[in-house]
Symmetry: C2
Subunit: 186 residues, 2 copies
DNA sequence: CATCTATTGTACCAAAAGGTACAGACTTAT
DNA sequence: ATAAGTCTGTACCTTTTGGTACAATAGATG
């Protein structure tokens, strides 16, 4: 039979989009095969563990992306102010200005939470921690920085919920703009 | 056969909890019958439209609760400061200090969003609007009040996501505490 | 007590679910 | 070119899904 896809990693973005759109339960194998163009044979070849393994793989890829594009820059840069603004740029692009759902957040609210609890917890923990460190560099006190980091990550998630609920991406964009203004210590 | 439940409204809270825990797709009829103690016969007698009608009924009940406990008090009171703090009290209790998920928010992120789009949009729209009006009464300018109301509702939703993701209800409680401090105009 | 309507349990259904088995075909290294 | 290993389509399986049909029964009403 024809070999169409050479890399397992090639289909992860597609899988991610499917799970974002349909959730874990809602993403049936028939939907997945249509979206990826892969039959069950290939799918179970790449992911012997079925849907659960697919989601785990997608979560790992997402975490990898944020690690590279967000967390590491926040940790390593000398210019914390610039790094934080770069984070907001990345977030704005990643979530397509509020039109794309956060898979990690959506899974956190679903009944499958327990299955992916580790990955979900890790993602947010690392985000809040690295962001708090960067805010400290800008002159915020330790507790201030922690609180502000929490406000920001939580604001992003809330913004996504509200934007999606209202079908109005500007809500998300406004939320990001406001958070940007709260970066500098008073 | 035995008649155990006399009121359709008696089972709405149970249905609400089931959908909160399992989501729309995840809440199978077998789960629903177990949780409510009602057989399919009764279920389809009360909700001829099946699961979709159940969720619509639950959403209507939720909206009714918020209308009574939150939106109307925000609209009608003279003491806006008190009304807003009462809102936070109600929210804290309703979401069990962050251990209970917001069904409306969860549905907004799921693929069933379109089916319940109207109810979801209405809920948040009314919340932000009434809250903004109350903030105006406290001396915030119109745009300030609108922005702050958005921040608050979005902060509540984001707090729920993060609390659930981290399995740490204190995140939600802290979020509410911080929002309370931002009520007074500067 | 007879009747009528609101409930309820049971049996049933077709469709879709996730998953397995496997033979065949394509690549690649030899 | 041939063997080894990687992919892929098809057929099939069991279980569960949401939903229907309907007869039986309970309580209310006269």
């Amino acid at each position: 039979m024809a070999r169409l896809v050479s890399e397992r990693s090639d289909i992860l973005p597609v899988l991610g989009e499917v799970f974002r759109e349909h959730g874990f339960e809602g993403a049936s194998l028939s939907i997945i095969t249509k979206a990826t163009g892969l039959g069950k044979g290939s799918l179970y070849h790449f992911f012997p563990g079925g849907k659960e393994e697919m989601v785990q793989a997608v979560l790992a890829e997402i975490h990898g992306w944020f690690e590279r594009e967000v967390f590491e820059p926040l940790e390593k840069t000398k210019d914390a102010d610039k790094a934080i603004n770069t984070m907001f740029d990345a977030v704005l692009k990643y979530f397509n200005s509020g039109q794309r759902v956060c898979l990690v957040g959506a899974l956190a609210l679903s009944n499958t939470r327990d299955t992916f609890a580790n990955a979900i917890r890790q993602y947010f923990k690392r985000w809040v921690m690295t962001l708090a460190r960067a805010l400290e560099k800008l002159g915020h006190s330790k507790p201030e920085a922690k609180a502000l980091a929490e406000v920001m990550v939580l604001g992003i998630q809330g913004g996504l919920v509200l934007a999606r609920a209202s079908n109005d991406a500007t809500i998300f964009k406004r939320a990001i703009k406001r958070l940007r203004l709260s970066v500098k210590p008073t």
